[in-house]
């Protein structure tokens, strides 16, 4: 599959020296996508577009934002009231953060269900987990920037997590703060890092895509593509599918931006930061609630912190914890059910995280935390041994087109 002869002389001049047109042609034009990809495979490109929206809205917010403890809150209010379209840009950035996590969480659950983390896509999966960690750091520091009550106390509680480590804990926290409490030095460095990490995410996403294009996409059947009869060219088949998803996404996103811009927000963050008064209910943004629930359900401070970080790090071990060779949940009768139990468990953790850790919620939180780790560390390794997978189809085209012969015939016809 060589690059086409470029007809336009300017294009040809450039491509001879820097084959950028050939690169796009290969990776986005003729790149072979499995023909059975469903709409869950459009969330990757959606995440990429949301990242671009975040960069664009973030950079113009930074034009108008002042990273200083005495001025940050007012500068954000000025963006909301006085800067041309400032309210729109800020609401796009605020809701974009939430949208980013929704899209990425669906993207990840897709990977869990269809076994996309298995051989030969382990590194692709790791890069995804790294991107999730970077996103969490970026979103956390971004939330501090408006310097409201939730910004301040969220920053205080989360940075204090590091004080759980014996001996060095306190020094680490002072070092993170640049003082003896969250204050102007903290805000300054969080702004610089918030700006920087967004571009580190761009880099990580590029390497993620590189790994993807080496081993190519998994698919809903989880079996390898066996030849051209199993694939379609990326353009126009997948570009159109991605665009359709994007239009649905933008419709829902606009509904939030224009009609419920503070739906995901906390009213307390419209009160300027006050280091002497803690708001009665500190809750993190919704996308951190499950981890927060894990943290609080463990009575010991250090173990709680370790469990919280562990809930993400266990994802790095997943390719080895899941001992089944079959990728797709479609052919794993037991895993298919346990997958949904796991999804419900994550939602329960989120629900518990939003409520005070008392009585009924405390018990529920503990059970859900235990189940979270039980799923990864006990169930998945055992399942590979005890589960009897359904017979796998011999190729992707076989069940789609009803038999190998038909598939080959169709393909010949087209060629």
């Amino acid at each position: 599959m060589n690059a086409p002869e470029w007809k336009n002389p300017v294009v040809r001049w450039i491509d001879f020296r820097l084959p950028i047109f050939s690169f796009v042609y290969h990776e986005l034009g003729v790149y072979p996508a499995p023909r059975n990809l469903n709409y869950f495979w459009t969330f990757g490109s959606l995440a990429g577009i949301v990242l671009v929206i975040m960069l664009a809205s973030g950079i113009v917010l930074a034009f108008n934002y002042t990273p200083h403890a005495t001025m940050a809150f007012d500068s954000v209010e000025r963006i909301m009231r006085d800067v041309n379209w400032g309210w729109l840009l800020r609401y796009i950035h605020m809701n974009g953060g939430s949208a980013f996590f929704i899209v990425v969480y669906i993207h990840m659950f897709r990977g869990l269900y269809y076994g996309s983390y298995k051989y030969p896509r382990e590194i692709l999966w790791f890069l995804g987990v790294i991107i999730l960690l970077l996103m969490m750091a970026t979103a956390f520091m971004g939330y501090v920037l408006p310097w409201g009550q939730m910004s301040f106390w969220g920053a205080t509680v989360i940075t204090n997590l590091f004080s759980a480590f014996p001996l060095v804990g306190e020094s680490i926290v002072t070092w993170l703060w640049g003082g003896y409490s969250v204050d102007n030095p903290t805000l300054n460095r969080f702004f610089a890092l918030h700006y920087l990490l967004a571009f580190v995410i761009v880099g990580a996403a590029a390497v993620h895509l590189w790994a993807l294009h080496v081993q190519k996409s998994n698919n809903p059947m989880g079996i390898d593509t066996k030849g051209p009869q199993d694939t379609v060219p990326f353009h126009p088949y997948m570009t159109v599918k991605d665009l359709f998803s994007l239009s649905v996404f933008l419709t829902v996103f606009s509904m939030f931006v224009f009609f419920a811009p503070n739906f995901f927000g906390e009213p307390d963050n419209y009160i300027p930061a006050n280091p002497l008064v803690t708001p009665p209910h500190i809750v993190p943004e919704w996308y951190f609630l499950p981890y927060y629930a894990i943290l609080r359900s463990i009575p010991d401070k250090l173990i709680g912190v370790l469990a919280m970080f562990g809930s993400i790090f266990v994802l790095f071990l997943l390719p080895w914890l899941d001992t089944s060779r079959v990728r797709s949940g479609t052919f794993r009768p037991a895993y298919k059910k346990l997958f949904w139990v796991f999804v419900v468990d994550c939602i329960v953790l989120g629900y518990v995280g939003a409520n005070p850790p008392e009585g009924y919620f405390l018990i529920l939180g503990r059970l859900a935390t235990i189940y979270y780790f039980f799923h990864f560390i006990i169930l998945l390794p055992l399942l590979g041994w005890f589960e009897r997978p359904l017979p796998l189809p011999t190729s992707i085209s076989q069940p789609v087109l009803g038999g190998r012969t038909a598939a080959t015939a169709r393909h010949m016809e087209k060629a």
Binding site: Y180, T278, E358
Partner: protein, 187 residues
Amino acid sequence: MANPAHSATSAAPGHDEGETRRDFLFLATAAFGAVGLGSAIWPFIDQMNPSADVLALATTEVDISPIAEGQSITVKWRGKPVFIRRRTQAEIEQAAKVQDSELPDRQADASRVKKPEWLIVVGVCTHLGCVPLGQKVTDPRGDYGGWFCPCHGSHYDTSGRIRKGPAPKNLDVPDYVFLSDTNVRIG
């Protein structure tokens, strides 16, 4: 030595010495480079620690004469709240009679105060840093009559010691001196 060209010439006197001298130079250069790199990186890390101007603000003087028995005030020291409570006789006794075995973080009340009447502690929960309630008369003071942290439910007693909840340690006692009967310097 695996290289035959080498072993052929290594018979020549002094060559082995040259080999070790080269090894030595190599190691010395690497060690020198590592130390140099390490000391060059340090400023990039240490710049994040509290700066001179932050350290310069590290003491606060307070006039405690207006505080009546049973009242508390909150002052700001190093950006954090400090609780100054003028304890009642009942509160002092309550704090003194607690057995060590009842305390998750064992400390006698006497070692936490300079004058039993005045309890001075940093108002930052040792769990994850919220400001506990109990300074205002209307605030909940928890099961032990001191402070209550609403964030994750830690209870402190009338000596600022942790009694119940996820916090691992007692409220910190900052360094302070009584400059006179009515003046304290914190820090």
